[in-house]
């Protein structure tokens, strides 16, 4: 196994162009596990740790341009206001040591349905900035996940950053694991209220071959909130609406039975999380929630 160590972003792109099979590694919290388990033995590892700009972020008017290697710890500590859903998701990632190393670029690169960041990214809405020696492009998150552990990257492309919409309303994130910390997701759910557009977006993790949005549930809820004038009145969401939203979210899941949980439990849990997180965000939108997120 050869270890390529580009000193700059340009060198990294050149190396990836020359060795398209090279596996990029930054925090190593995913790639090293794969290697240790002997699940893959890439010919080349492309170490991105010397590319300092990947660890930088910029807060713009509409979006946060989050470098691919910005560690989860920093997202939790410094971007809670702009990216509350992702900050909550970051908090559920493994242990403090891993959160100091891993970043969103790794989750996107691996594109595992169990990646903790995906539901938050789907709910917030974002575009993935990818680049190669041929140039740069933005991939909408809805088009990014193409199959089990597959994404829309060309073989010579690297993930540079994610352009995530700054929160214009409350966001929430829940993850079920069979341990109270440091656990891989059995399933996860993200939700973001977008009062500016009067829409709600969602994300489901670990309950389908790829991270997905619960689109039917979103459409139902958007219509119901609109018709009922809920955005203006800020009244309590009718329980039947919340129930229907939860059932549709549950129905969006397409999970499997595995060692971490059964398919039927996953479907059930997605529904519970959908109902609860909708309640939390809506209470927050109404100004009644004491906090938009759990204290930790």
């Amino acid at each position: 196994m050869d270890f390529l160590r580009p000193a700059s972003w340009e060198e990294a792109l050149a190396a990836k162009a020359e060795h398209p099979t090279a596996v990029p590694i930054a925090g190593g919290t995913d790639v090293m596990v794969e290697i240790n388990f002997d699940h893959r033995r890439p010919e080349y590892l492309l170490d991105l740790n010397r590319v300092v700009e990947l660890r930088e972020w910029e807060v713009g008017e509409e979006t946060v341009r989050l470098g691919a290697s910005v560690p989860y710890t920093q997202i939790m500590e410094e971007l809670r206001t702009e990216l509350p859903g992702l900050a909550l998701a970051s908090h559920t990632v493994a242990s403090p040591q891993i959160r100091n190393r891993g970043g969103v670029g790794g989750n996107l690169g691996t594109a595992s349905p169990a990646g903790d960041a995906h539901p938050a990214l789907l709910a917030a809405g974002c575009e993935v900035e990818v680049e190669s020696v041929r140039g740069s492009r933005l991939i909408p998150i809805d088009d990014f996940y193409t199959g089990v552990k597959r994404n829309a990257l060309a073989e010579d492309e690297l993930i540079r950053a994610v352009h995530i919409k700054k929160a214009d309303g409350p966001q929430q994130y829940s993850k079920v694991g069979t341990r109270n910390a440091m656990v891989i997701a059995v399933c996860a759910f993200g939700i973001a209220l977008h009062p500016e557009t009067r829409t709600v977006r969602t994300g489901i993790g670990s309950a389908a071959p790829t991270p997905i949005r619960a689109k039917v549930a979103e459409e139902f809820l958007n219509a119901a909130l609109d018709e009922g004038g809920f955005w203006e009145s800020k009244k309590i969401i009718t329980p039947s609406i919340a129930k229907q939203f939860a059932e549709l979210a549950s129905g969006a899941a397409n999970p499997i039975d595995d060692v971490r949980g059964t398919a039927s439990y996953r479907r059930h849990a997605v529904g519970i999380m959908a109902r609860r997180t909708l309640g939390w965000t809506w209470e927050s939108y109404r100004g009644k929630g004491r906090s938009i997120e759990g204290v930790a």
Binding site: V33, N36, F37, L88, H91, T92, Q172, Y173, S174, K175, V176, G177, T178, R179, N180, A181, M182, V183, I184, V186, V259, R260, G261, T262, S264, Y265, R267, H268, A269, I272, M273, R276, G279, W280, G289, R290, S291, E293, G294, V295, A296
Partner: protein, 796 residues
């Protein structure tokens, strides 16, 4: 120096407590800071110049004939020094085993479980060794799988081991049963007629792993005399030695073993792992060979706790007095015997729990199957039984409309109780009292997660995963109590050896304690120094590294080391003290009549009378003489259980703990947060109170683990392990570990050194059923299986 055999030395405390750092103080352990700061040298940290790395090739299927093994591609690789298979084993003896030598060093013609060692590679780099092992081609022809009792005892069942000649073969009903131990006392069928209520239950206990953090590792260095020096993390050096030397074709004195840094054990290091493999490769290549398992391999490299199916029936009169008990315990021993026979003995003899029941009908068996081998783990058979009989007690209480703690107290055993084996409990058994203590504690406040800033998710089920802010959360409270034997039972010659030397170094009296006790993290070395200070009145004690240059200390298991090796150290110190006093009498006896008439003590570096008068400095007594004694020490002997009736004085001592668990359950998502696990335990005498707390809290947490998350999952269709990693085999984190208030009782056992009671295992027993009881209390569900999964709580 002489070797003296003594039995049952009186254990009254003759030495005073004026010497600092003696027994009863919480002296700090020497390895504590090093372990917390990451500086402790574990066995995996060893290095030797010119060292090779060993790698094990393991079977990819659970039960198969080996048609062929082709090692040519591996041997041809640069950097590979040796490849070995069964055919390369040097001695006539090719098997090993704790009791039954049924485990091949390398598979011979057949593999019996997933992950069985088939071939070995030594190479100059661990990655080279790994790649070479991957190039070995093994052709398997798969055989039918034996995975449970039904398939093991079916009329046409394939035999996991053909041609058994072990001592249990003559009394087992089927060759796929390792051992069977019935216990019959009174007449359960007749007594059942007196019962006003009867409860029955079927319980399942999942396969728990010891999950010690330091994986199996060691270094074998070939010696000039044709022997080998082995540095290894293990639980019992001399037991390893007895199994290693014969398969190497060496006399035991040519295999010299030294204990290296052990990262936890919990029973998982009682069996051989890489010891023989490293020695074989070292002797074959003439070079030092190191083997370190990674976490994945570690799950295949040691035995696990026996999964069990337990069927119980209890009866009681309407006022709650137990009338009878019938039970059947089926333990899955997996492919090799390991400690299965002894686990059967424990499960059977302790299946009644800490209760008085005169009429019982008990049967425990262990199966041979193609599942992963199971053997020793903290609690050893008593854990599985406790899970079931405590669930039964709650069921019975519910049916009687009684308080579950009162029912237990009403039937609690006490000193003088006759056990189903016919043995009398002849030391304190404060079962009712420890239950009273955990029950009388104030309950933790409700809804602790509520704060002015919102819900503190760390206090809620799901924790940082932020799954509830209080929705669906219901509190439950549950109780359990257990009984565990201390020391090796059933007639085993359970001795230990201690060599103690006393001399003057740099003008100060110094004691050196040398035993073969494996310090696996229990704090034994700390306690040995405390005992030496108390018995010899010195401040300076040196603990010699554990090795095989001194007699056996027995195993660091069965809650026995402070009792047995502690007893041996105490005994040897007493013998050294007598010698020192003899020297004193010889030198100074004529100067003071007290040398002849008074009871003399060693305290603060001086010889003093029991009235406190100083007779001499130890420095002056010893001058340049040194006194050294190596002696074996034994607790009272035990007897085997009768193979038909189970009668016999099989155990030495018992250990009791009770728990109260308080849980919050998210009833919609099926997630659990254990809020508090209160413990009360009798320890006889706390030699090191801080270490006692550590053992009780650790055991409690390990019991919690198997209540709510820990399980090795074996696919019943392939007998392959599905979760051999810390990604999917979960152990409790600090956020899963509740407050553990501990109430320690010290009721002396007059038969034991200082009155102490072995403590390491009892808290592991009652922790699990207490958590289960609390979850049942919260949810109203029956929950007959542990660990509890979200699916069980949500019916999904």
């Amino acid at each position: 120096m002489g070797s003296t055999r003594t039995t049952g030395v009186p254990t009254k405390l003759t030495q005073g407590s004026k010497t600092k750092g003696g027994i009863g103080e919480s002296t700090l352990r020497p390895d504590g800071t090093l372990k917390v700061t990451g500086e402790f040298a574990y066995s995996s940290d060893m290095w030797h110049e010119d060292m090779l790395w060993g790698q094990t090739l393991r079977s990819t299927v659970a039960h198969a004939e080996i048609v062929s093994i082709d090692v040519s591609k591996a041997l041809a690789m640069d950097g590979v020094y040796a490849v070995m298979t069964y055919d390369d084993l040097p001695a006539e003896m090719k098997n090993y085993g704790l009791e039954i030598q049924d485990t091949p060093v390398l598979a011979h013609g057949k593999v019996r479980h997933h992950g069985e060692p088939v071939a070995l590679v030594a190479a100059d780099h661990p990655e080279t060794a790994r790649r070479a092992a991957a190039k070995i081609v093994v052709e398997y022809k798969e055989l039918p799988l034996i995975t449970d009792e039904a398939s093991a005892t079916a009329p046409d069942a394939v035999l996991v081991h053909e041609g058994r000649t072990d001592s249990h073969m003559s009394h087992v009903p089927h060759p796929n049963i390792v051992h069977r131990q019935p216990i019959i006392r009174g007449n359960a069928a007749e007594a059942a007629k007196k019962a006003d209520v009867i409860v029955k239950g079927e319980y399942t206990f999942g396969m728990q792993d010891q999950a010690f953090l330091g994986p199996e590792s060691g270094l074998a260095v070939p010696a000039e005399d044709g022997g080998v020096d082995l540095y290894v993390a293990t639980q019992w050096l001399h037991s390893d030695l007895e199994q290693i030397a014969p398969v190497l074709g060496l006399p035991e004195e040519k295999v010299r073993m030294t204990l290296s840094g052990v990262g936890g054990a919990f029973g998982g290091r009682e069996d051989i792992s890489m010891q023989i493999h490293a020695c074989l490769l070292a002797l074959r290549t003439g070079k030092p060979v190191k083997i370190v398992y990674n976490r994945f391999e570690s799950f295949f490299g040691h035995v696990h706790r026996h999964p069990a199916k337990l069927t119980y029936e209890h009866g009681a009169t309407k006022d709650g007095k137990l009338t009878h008990m019938k039970c059947r315990i089926v333990l899955d021993g997996g492919a090799y015997a390991s400690a299965s026979p002894a686990v059967v003995g424990n499960a059977s003899s302790l299946s009644v729990g800490p209760y008085v029941i005169d009429d019982v009908e008990i049967e425990a068996i262990a199966l041979y199957t193609n599942n992963p081998p199971c053997g020793a783990m903290r609690g050893f058979g008593a854990v599985q039984a406790c899970f079931a009989y405590e669930a039964q007690m709650d069921k019975l209480a519910a049916k009687l409309g009684m308080d579950p703690v009162e029912l237990r107290q009403l039937n609690a055993m006490e000193q003088g109780t006759l056990l189903p084996t016919g043995q009398v409990v002849d030391s304190p058994a404060p079962v009712a009292e420890i239950l009273r203590r955990v029950k009388s504690r104030p309950l933790p406040p409700e809804r602790q997660w509520e704060s002015s800033e919102g819900a503190d998710v760390r206090q809620l089920p799901g924790g940082l995963s932020n799954t509830t802010h209080g929705e669906g959360v219901v509190r439950g409270v549950g109780y359990a109590v257990g009984i565990k034997n201390v020391g090796f039972s059933e007639g085993f010659d359970d001795y230990s050896t201690a060599k103690v030397r006393m001399e003057v170094i740099n003008g100060e009296p110094v004691a050196t304690v040398h035993t073969a006790m494996a310090e696996v993290g229990q704090g034994g070395v700390t306690v040995h120094a405390q005992i030496a200070r108390t018995e010899l009145g010195v401040n300076q004690v040196t603990i010699h590294p554990a090795d095989t240059q001194v007699g056996s200390a027995g195993s660091s298991s069965a809650s026995r080391q402070t009792y047995v090796t502690g007893g041996a150290v105490k005994n040897s110190c007493e013998l050294v003290r007598e010698k020192v006093l003899e020297i004193g009498r010889r030198k100074f006896g004529s100067y003071h009549p007290a040398w002849a008439t008074a009871e003399l003590l060693l305290e603060g570096g001086k010889v003093v009378t029991d009235g406190g008068e100083v007779l001499a400095d130890l420095v002056d007594v010893l001058e340049d003489e040194s006194v050294e004694i190596e002696a074996e020490w034994r607790h009272r002997p035990t007897e085997p259980f009768d193979l038909k009736t189970g009668q016999g004085n099989g155990h030495v001592q018992y250990s009791f703990a009770a728990h109260r668990a308080v849980v919050e359950v998210d009833t919609e998502l099926g997630l659990v947060k254990v809020i508090e696990l209160a413990v009360a335990q009798d320890v006889g005498k706390a030699l090191n109170p801080l270490s006692v707390l550590g053992q009780i809290q650790g055991g409690t947490t390990q019991g919690l683990g198997v209540a709510v998350m820990e399980e090795i999952i074996v696919d019943p269709k392939t007998a392959k392990v599905k979760n051999p990693s810390f990604t999917d085999y979960l152990i409790p984190t600090i956020l899963d570990t509740p407050t553990i208030p501990v109430d320690v009782l010290e009721l002396a056992d007059e038969h034991a050194p200082y009155g102490l009671r072995g403590i390491g295992e009892a808290p592991t027993l009652s922790s699990t059923p207490a958590v289960l009881a609390a979850i049942r209390n919260a949810t109203g569900l029956e929950l007959n299986k542990t660990p509890v999964r979200p699916e069980h709580l949500t019916g999904t």
